[in-house]
């Protein structure tokens, strides 16, 4: 996985790809348009089912239906433009995406079951996993510091009704 190591991308545009988010490497740009098209159809169908009403009294579904219809046209135009144009999307940083998503999920799961302090600790450790420059001990230490900091600020200082630890 070359997103993980910091090697230059292999298409001769490596520097651009590493430095700027605009660095595009072989991905179908039209997929974005297709996804929007799907979304627009969902809202059009949903709007239709909710009822469009009459012009004097617009129904619950009128606005979603109308915006969905406009979006459908735009999405089609995007698909066409992308097919005609360079049509490339940036390659995703899977590791970063996975780690950050997992860290939020861990927060949601752990805070509910074990409490704030273990939740924050686990979130920090998971979020920092893709970082090779930080040792495991460093990650744990950072986790402890941030967890204690959150306890101090959010529970002691701001009095949020969250328990630092839960019994299970």
């Amino acid at each position: 996985m070359n997103q993980y190591s910091n090697e230059p991308e292999d298409n001769g545009q490596g520097e651009l790809a590493a430095d700027s988010p605009a660095g595009a490497t072989g991905w179908g740009g039209e997929i974005g348009g297709v996804l929007l098209l799907v979304l627009s159809v969902i809202f059009m169908v949903g709007g239709w089912q909710l009822g469009l009403g009459v012009p004097t009294r617009l129904g619950t579904g009128a606005f979603p239906f109308a915006t969905g219809a406009v979006l459908a046209v735009l999405a089609l135009a995007i698909v066409i433009a992308e097919r005609k144009g360079d049509g490339l999307a940036e390659r995703p940083d899977w590791i970063g995406l996975l780690a950050i998503s997992a860290s939020l999920a861990v927060f949601a799961i752990v805070v509910d079951r074990l409490g704030l302090v273990p939740g924050v600790f686990a979130t920090v450790v998971v979020a920092s996993l893709p970082d090779r420059n930080l040792s495991l001990r460093g990650k744990a230490l950072l986790g402890i510091i941030v967890a204690l900091g959150c306890w101090g600020v959010f529970i002691e200082l701001l009095n949020l009704p969250i328990k630092p630890f839960l019994e299970f």
């Binding site: 590493a18 809202f43 979006l71």
Partner: protein, 512 residues
Amino acid sequence: MDILANFSQGLLVVLQPENLMYCFIGVFLGTFIGVLPGIGSMAAIAMILPITFYLDPTPALVMIAGVFYGAEYGGSTASILLNVPGTPAASITAIEGHQLAKKGRAGVALFSTATASFGGGIIGMVVIALLSPFLAKLALSFAPADYFAVILLGLIAASAVSNGGALKGIAMVITGLMLGTIGIDLTTGVTRFTMGVPELRDGIHIVIVAMGLFGVGEVIASIRATRSGTATQTVDYSDFYPSKKEWKSLFAPILRGGAIGSFIGALPGTGQTIAAALAYAVEKRVSPQRKDFGTGVVPGVAVPEAANNSATQTAFIPTLTLGVPGSPPMAIVIGALMIYGITPGPRLLTEQPDMFWGLVASFLVGNIMLLILNVPLIGIWVRLLNIPYKYMYPTIIVLICMGVYSLNNNVFDIWLTLVIGVVGYVMRLFRFEPAPLLLGFVLGPMMEEHLRRTMLLSRGDPMVFVTRPISATLLAITALIIVFALYSTARTHRRALAARLGSSRKEQPNEL
């Protein structure tokens, strides 16, 4: 002078210890987050928003505004020292600023930034104080059709100039409008698109949308970019103050930049980046030093910075007098006000004078604080830039989680943030900008309501939009913007394609 009396009234409000404290916290945190590369003012405001819910509306608004201009300010520090703009508008400052830094004159660049920012901020503040009462009076004669038109104009203007091109920008606005319909329809009481999830009945909270799109999305996007480590630059204090000649060369650019910035900032849908870019372009033509532009000149740093900061302040004009935010950060301000039950609009000035004039006066106080924070204390921010990102981003993720969780103490909100964050990241990959989406999301319900009222008042006749002079004018401008934006997008598209095919035969796009 009526305005002077109002202003001094506002000054009394902001000088209350509580407001003063939150103003300071705002500009401090804003600078702090703005200095961090990759995290812009939008993420900064989104992260601060949950905290402000514990405050009264006035200190909350003062604090949000402080975070906003503090972050825009801090962005320039990072862009001068590292050439990594902390905020998009700061990339214009970086053109000359980083050249100066490379010449070993980073101190002078930072000092000019501080001065210009202050000057621009004060110009912007004066413009608000003079223009807002006038505009609010005008807005009192607005009918629902006119509001609909002005919202549409704001949305289109803001999205048509987005980086990914007009088509994608407008598509994002529409997507935002659609997502804004999720939850109970306030007119009919019917729930829409909640998929049976009770937590979605009240709609998606603006904090969740903003944190997901800007917080989570930006962190994922910036991990790779900043994994390569940070460059270090030391600021030489002996070379901090500009020479006498440079001092003199600062004055006119600040006035010009401030004037351009406050004009652009007050227009719906423009924002700081355009203000800074335009002011820089103008200065490049009129400056006596125009030949040296691009090599690192002091006026070249001052102009975009003055324009940026004055635009940041005047962006509040349409937001507070019409209730129509011209830019995504202002959309958050509107969202926050509505959470307090305050409807921004022409009546805000007369009904909440303390809040309005307190905010205006807080720009003066906040800019003085920024000057203090950034001239004698610049060393702190330079040192902050040296903290590796590896310590920063896990902490930012935790702050996002805490902010979202504190809304309802419900982990459902965290899961929702996760989903929106991933969507926001994927959008970036396809070069869809999240900012127009947020703008549409906030304005959607307002737009729908004005549309319904208009249709009710006109007994179902849509022609009212083109027969009322105000709305007809606004819609005509909107149409012009669309035509122009689509034309210029198509042109740059063709050029980019031609350049691509011409220069890089060896790497053909693989799906063609």
